[in-house]
């Protein structure tokens, strides 16, 4: 997935081009196929960026409204559709993040934690969920640019060039953000592991 050669990435055929063209022609089957293909990616991106499932769903819905508008006039070659979609979703996420600047890290932690199961979960499920919560909380506590770099490259599996292009930075700057993000996470999660349990 990673590629430092700009020409190679941009000249590759956009795998979504045909599907987007059919969506532009108002083909109902293509609409369903595109939603099935992109909705999980949008939800994953927005959930990790915002730390809130409901807000992530709102972002995904808004992103699809933009897709419906853009698809009839979409032109391949200027940008890959998936990259453009990530730009749209990231902008929507940043709009929301700007709106909650005053919120503290503790608030973010609280938002990322799933609601407690009133029926009580088995020990293994509980332990797994606790681990997941800690990873999610550690991600949410990262500075937003570090989190963005990690989410785009690790979870969304964009190439380093695509991620750097989306973030408006060089590949070197992206790698610096990634290294810092991973260092911070390792320190935090290792500290949690020794402090809370032996996972």
């Amino acid at each position: 997935m990673q590629d430092r050669e700009a020409g190679k990435t941009l000249s590759e055929r956009d795998p979504d081009a045909d599907l987007v063209a059919r969506v532009g022609a108002r083909d109902p089957l293509a609409v369903r196929a595109l939603v099935a293909s992109k909705l999980p990616r949008l939800i994953a991106l927005a959930t990790r960026m915002l730390g809130d499932c409901n807000e992530a769903e709102d972002v995904a819905q808004e992103a699809f409204v933009r897709i419906w508008k853009q698809a009839p006039t979409w032109r391949t070659g200027e940008a890959k559709f998936d990259t453009w979609l990530h730009r749209v979703a990231l902008n929507l996420c940043y709009d929301r993040l700007r709106g909650r600047r005053e919120e503290t890290v503790d608030d973010l932690h609280a938002m990322t934690e799933p609601a407690p199961d009133p029926a009580g979960a088995p020990d293994q499920q509980l332990e797994a969920r606790t681990r997941d919560q800690r990873v999610r909380a550690a991600l949410a506590a990262l500075p937003v640019r570090q989190r963005e770099a990690l989410v785009l490259t690790y979870y969304q599996e964009l190439s380093n060039l695509e991620a750097a292009g989306l973030m408006g930075i060089s590949v070197d700057a992206l790698e610096s953000l990634l290294a810092r993000a991973r260092r911070t996470l390792r320190a935090q999660l290792a500290g949690d592991a020794t402090g809370k349990d032996s996972v």
Binding site: Q2, D3, V35, D132, R182
Partner: protein, 153 residues
């Protein structure tokens, strides 16, 4: 590939070579094979965080959300529906018009001669001097049909 660059790649992208920059992947793997001890130390450290990150799974979207988004798309069916409404309206109007004409024709056959045509219609048709120029009574009288007259001559 230098040791520093290998370290930078692993520090940024993790221990999985599939995540390394494609154009540097082979060189990095080759360097790791040639410097196994050094590489393993770096990779092991990154592997621990990779396993942590892999635990963060996002639940797939709900079916209801999927359907809600699909329903919001302007699909061809909406246009086709509008067209079908248009055609059904036109067909309805056409049937109504045909019925009215059929009714008028029936009335003209059932009613006594001359009473179905309004005066202005008669004058209009007469001035045009067509085969429709005569009144209904003309058609009913034997020998009054223009064609019949001609054939008698």
């Amino acid at each position: 590939m230098t040791p520093e660059r290998f370290h930078t790649i692993v520090a940024a992208y993790g221990a999985d070579p599939q995540r390394w920059p494609r154009d540097e992947r082979n060189d990095a793997l080759e360097w790791a094979r040639a410097h196994r001890a050094q590489a393993n130390a770096v990779l092991e450290e990154a592997l621990e965080l990779d396993s942590w990150l892999a635990r963060d799974m996002i639940a797939p979207p709900e079916r209801a959300l999927f359907e809600q988004i699909v329903a919001g798309a302007p699909v061809q069916g909406v246009v086709a529906k509008r067209r079908s409404y248009w055609w059904s309206g036109a067909a309805f109007a056409g049937v109504g018009l045909a019925g009215a004409l059929a009714g008028a024709l029936t009335m003209s056959l059932l009613m006594p001669g001359g009473t179905t045509s309004a005066p202005h219609e008669n004058s209009y048709l007469n001035t045009m001097n067509t085969s429709f120029g005569g009144s209904g009574s003309d058609w009913s009288e034997p020998g009054a049909v223009p064609g019949a007259e001609g054939s008698d001559e």
